[in-house]
């Protein structure tokens, strides 16, 4: 999700029709976009990450204008600028494209929207400038011919927003953007630059030059995109070129020379898709005439014509989200209006069932509740500190997170006993006795494989030890679940010596119980005698 704030009046002006707030919101919400806030001057819109072409105010307005029929889609003409960009071998970012925009009128508002769209494209399709980076320059400050190539680290230029010359290397140290994006290219021997007769005028993906700064006095623009992925660079250049066209500016293609190849930077290639009427009916469950389908597709900005039972659809180059016939059919559904679909249940019969595992756990819950224990719920996420250190036991391998957001949650729990003790430590001033239980997942790591198990733990904390009550609960529980069990005396640091037992079913250890060692109670700052039993319920699911 990407949230973008637009100048509302600018948006309405670009749409080209007077709309009140209600109408505007209604129109926007016919798409995947949602309006988060609307005020006198601003509108805050939540976009989905597939429709990157709608992020710019121009692209957004175009989509809305086409939808209300103020414009019919047509293929624009990109003229030839007649000059070229030479793209040499650049290891760090091999792909580069650029185009020219002439006779622009730039006011503060437009300048801001230019900055906004660069920023949001860098963040989204650019994956924080890794995949692509955009530079927009004052064309009249550039002397052709221009070349995109590798430069020596020591070469100098004046970065945008700075007043001194610095070497490319120094840019990493001395500028904010340099620090932020250094990781993207610093590891390479030589760095990517754009160069004209006067020297370096852009250092992608870090900074443009002060020399080619765009101001409200700028008349003509050079827009360049560099990146590590050819398709993404092309997609970005198309989205930008169409945005400028939308403003009514003239957009010119450059000749891109790369090795022996020579291409136009703006190919204006509208990909053809054949959409089957039958597939539309099958997927959407509605019957539409070919004429209606074409009309809807035009509202969504496609060029479409009927070919027998097929619709030939031409996709605007900025619609980079279209991968498959179904993507176009979804747009037909949007054009048709989701509110016009009659929800319907299919004529099929299926038998419902509940997971046996969950149902067995529910039976255990009922028994525990009957015994007077209150159910508690705690996170599966835990920390080694809670699982081992505070329990006084030796650390072992656990499922551990690489990117935790808090010291409290860095691994998955292997036992529920810390969960119960944590709970007791938080309830020192509530009425005693406190009988609690939890049924939950623990995850062990065995031979580098995660093993998930359902555990039950229950405890009694009171002013006097309730060992015998706990022991009685164990017997009762096993009786009610049809299981014979045996108890063996056990030694475990978590429990007072001589007051700890292990539980066995069919000679397999399934649990442990006892009175918690005062040393452990102290670790958790618990001041009441506490007895706990923990049982691995896996034996119930075999």
């Amino acid at each position: 999700m990407v949230v973008i704030t637009y100048n509302k009046n600018e948006l309405i002006k670009l749409i080209g029709k007077k709309l009140n707030d209600k109408q505007l919101v209604e129109l926007i919400e016919r798409f995947k976009t949602n309006v988060e806030e609307i005020s006198e001057n601003e509108i805050k819109v939540e976009h989905t990450s597939d429709r990157i072409d709608m992020f710019s105010i121009e692209g957004f307005a175009k989509t809305l204008r086409l939808f209300i029929g103020l414009e019919k889609p047509k293929k624009p003409k990109f003229r030839d600028f007649g000059k070229s960009l030479l793209v040499k071998k650049v290891k760090a970012r091999p792909y580069a494209l650029a185009f020219v925009v002439k006779n622009v009128k730039i006011d503060e508002e437009f300048l801001r929207s230019l900055m906004n769209i660069q920023e949001v494209l860098h963040l989204t399709i650019g994956r924080k400038r890794r995949k692509i980076a955009i530079g927009i320059h004052d064309l009249d400050k550039i002397s052709f011919p221009i070349v995109y190539e590798e430069a020596n680290k020591k070469e100098k230029f004046t970065p945008l927003g700075y007043f001194e010359e610095m070497s490319l290397e120094e840019v990493f140290e001395k500028t904010e953007k340099g620090k932020e994006y250094a990781d993207l290219i610093k590891k390479f021997e030589r760095y990517p630059v754009y160069r004209d007769k006067k020297g370096i005028f852009s250092f992608p993906p870090i900074l443009n030059s002060e020399r080619t700064r765009v101001t409200t006095k700028t008349k003509n623009l050079l827009v360049e995109v560099t990146g590590i992925d050819e398709t993404t660079v092309k997609q970005t250049i198309n989205i930008l070129a169409f945005s400028f066209l939308e403003r009514g500016f003239k957009v010119y293609s450059l000749d891109i020379k790369k090795g022996k190849k020579k291409i136009k930077s703006l190919e204006n290639r509208w990909e053809k898709f054949l959409v089957r009427k039958e597939e539309i009916e099958n997927l959407l469950g509605i019957k539409l005439t070919s004429k209606r389908i074409v009309k809807i597709l035009e509202k969504l900005g496609y060029l479409a014509k009927v070919k027998n039972n097929l619709i030939e659809v031409e996709i605007p180059p900025y619609r980079i989200d279209i991968l498959h016939e179904w993507d176009i059919i979804e747009d037909i559904a949007i054009g048709y209006g989701y509110e016009n679909f009659e929800p319907e249940l299919p004529n099929i019969f299926t038998k419902g069932s509940l997971s046996k595992e969950e149902e067995i756990l529910n039976r255990i819950r009922e028994i525990m509740v009957g015994l007077g224990y209150q159910e508690i719920l705690t996170p599966v996420l835990s920390s080694k500190e809670k699982q081992f250190k505070r329990m006084g036991i030796k650390e072992k391998e656990v499922v551990e997170i690489e990117n935790p957001v808090s010291n409290e949650y860095t691994c998955l729990r292997i036992s529920l006993i810390p969960s119960l003790l944590y709970f007791y430590s938080k309830n020192k001033h509530r009425e005693f006795p406190q009988l609690i239980f939890e049924i939950g997942k623990v995850v062990h790591l065995e031979n580098k494989k995660p093993i998930e198990k359902n555990y039950l733990a229950f405890g009694i904390s009171d002013s006097v030890t309730k060992f015998s009550e706990l022991r009685a609960s164990i017997s009762f529980l096993f009786k009610l679940i049809w299981k014979k069990f045996e108890i063996q005396e056990a030694k475990d640091k978590r429990f007072i010596e001589g007051r700890c037992g292990k539980i066995f079913v069919n000679n397999k250890e399934v649990g442990i119980f006892g009175e918690i060692n005062p040393e452990i109670l102290e670790n958790w700052k618990i001041e009441m005698p506490t007895v706990i039993a923990e049982i691995d319920l896996s034996f119930l699911f075999k």
């Binding site: 016919r30 997927l283 959407l284 989701y338 019969f349 159910e375 599966v380 957001v405 949650y409 709970f423």
Partner: protein, 423 residues
């Protein structure tokens, strides 16, 4: 009208003092009011009784393997009571209960005639076994009870409110003919993302959206065919006529993560689905994890309800039909509306809204038809309707809470006093 007399133990304490008195006196003599456990055990007869009562009354505490005196009692009411009872006097009901519990007194059981003579025409407060058995209730009056008195507070065990809610949702989905399925918490990126056609560099796969594991780091996908198919779907669309993404990061797909959405369970289920299982409807209540800020609306561990419907000839209208039915059944609302949405794995995609009196139109879940790039590689040739709901909002609404952290509440009073769900 009961009568009591001292037991042997009661007589002994009347004579020699209660064990806890002896413990307190011993402690008083110690310089720092502290005594080692072993020493106390040796010196005090009936030590376990002494310590139990001294702790319960808050006179001493156990510390560093010994006993510490924390407050010196002014009197020992039990001793006074024993004296009174020995003289045939009366003590409070509460004291009777305590002395009976300590087995220091016992009830004197009178013969029928004796009892009848004693009680006839009198007002009794307690109806006893003997009064019923001997028919004496015919000749006595019963003392009036205060029916307005609150009575003694009790905390019965209860099922956690959130589990009650989850069970409610499970019952509702059962009634709609869905089969419950489970999947692992520790998941492979492959099932969580790649099998769902999320490109390797999709923003929702970043470290800000998914918990990657440091240990274990990599796993294997056993079904090599599915592995190859998914790879092709990413590279060139497999046999779906899709363009695909043109790239795929194989190593990323092998990484272990914590499941970030319930849809991973749907992907696993589809991979195992056979023709004979159709038509098929499943749901899962999946615990999921996301590296989010922790506040009133977000926790890094929460649950999602997800489901799929697989059958021949399903379409978008059926998707809306199911989504509406589920909303009506679970949320108990009448009005539902839909709007376009985006999920990387469905096309078309839809967001569902319900009308709530207090909140207006409220989003309750998302749905869509799985893309062919998702279903074909898993061997499914039929349309798959997929839907998902967040439980958080439902929980907040039904349990009347305004902070999601209540679902993991560490407040025992809240859990003890929280009303049961009636929905």
């Amino acid at each position: 009208m009961k009568e009591y007399r001292l037991t042997e133990e009661g007589k002994e304490y009347l004579e020699k003092g209660l064990p806890e008195r002896r413990l307190i006196e011993l402690l008083k003599e110690e310089p720092d009011h502290f005594i080692k456990m072993e020493v106390a055990i040796k010196k005090i007869k009936n030590f376990h009784i002494a310590i139990k009562w001294a702790v319960e009354k808050g006179w001493v505490r156990i510390k560093n393997g010994g006993i510490e005196l924390i407050s010196i009692p002014k009197e020992f009411p039990e001793e006074e009571a024993l004296k009174k009872i020995a003289r045939g006097g009366k003590v409070s009901e509460e004291m009777i209960r305590i002395l009976k519990r300590r087995k220091l007194i016992e009830e004197v059981i009178l013969e029928k005639e004796e009892l009848e003579k004693k009680l006839k025409g009198k007002e009794v407060s307690e109806l006893t076994h003997q009064i019923i058995k001997y028919g004496i209730w015919r000749v006595v009056k019963f003392k009036k009870f205060n029916v307005r008195a609150e009575g003694k507070k009790e905390y019965p065990g209860k099922i956690h409110p959130y589990i009650q809610l989850i069970n409610l949702v499970r019952q509702k989905l059962l009634s709609l003919g869905f089969k419950e399925v489970n999947g692992p918490l520790v998941e492979l990126n492959f099932w969580n993302c790649d099998a769902l056609f999320m490109p390797s560099d999709h923003p929702a796969r970043s470290i800000h959206d998914i918990f990657l594991l440091k240990n274990p780091k990599f796993g294997e996908i056993k079904d090599k065919k599915v592995w190859e198919n998914v790879k092709k779907a990413h590279l060139n669309g497999f046999n779906t006529k899709s363009k695909g993404w043109g790239f795929w990061d194989e190593n990323l797909a092998k990484r272990y993560i914590l499941r970030s959405h319930g849809t991973a369970v749907s992907a696993r289920t589809l991979a195992k689905l056979k023709e004979k299982d159709l038509p098929f409807k499943m749901f899962t209540i999946a615990k999921v994890f996301r590296p989010d800020v922790i506040d009133a609306k977000h926790f890094i561990e929460f649950d999602q309800v997800e489901g799929i419907v697989v059958a021949k000839n399903l379409n978008f209208k059926h998707l809306l039909g199911f989504l509406k039915e589920i909303a009506v059944e679970i949320f108990g609302v009448k009005k539902v509306k839909f709007k376009p949405s985006y999920f990387p794995f469905t096309e078309p995609s839809v967001e569902g809204y319900i009308w709530l009196k207090d909140f207006g139109w409220t989003e309750f879940g998302g749905a869509g038809i799985f893309r062919k790039e998702v279903t074909y590689p898993l061997g499914i040739k039929y349309p798959v309707l997929a839907w998902g709901l967040g439980l958080g909002r439902l929980a907040m609404q039904i349990l009347k809470i305004n902070d999601i952290r209540y679902l993991f509440s560490d407040n025992l009073d809240w859990l003890r006093n929280k009303e049961v769900i009636i929905w």
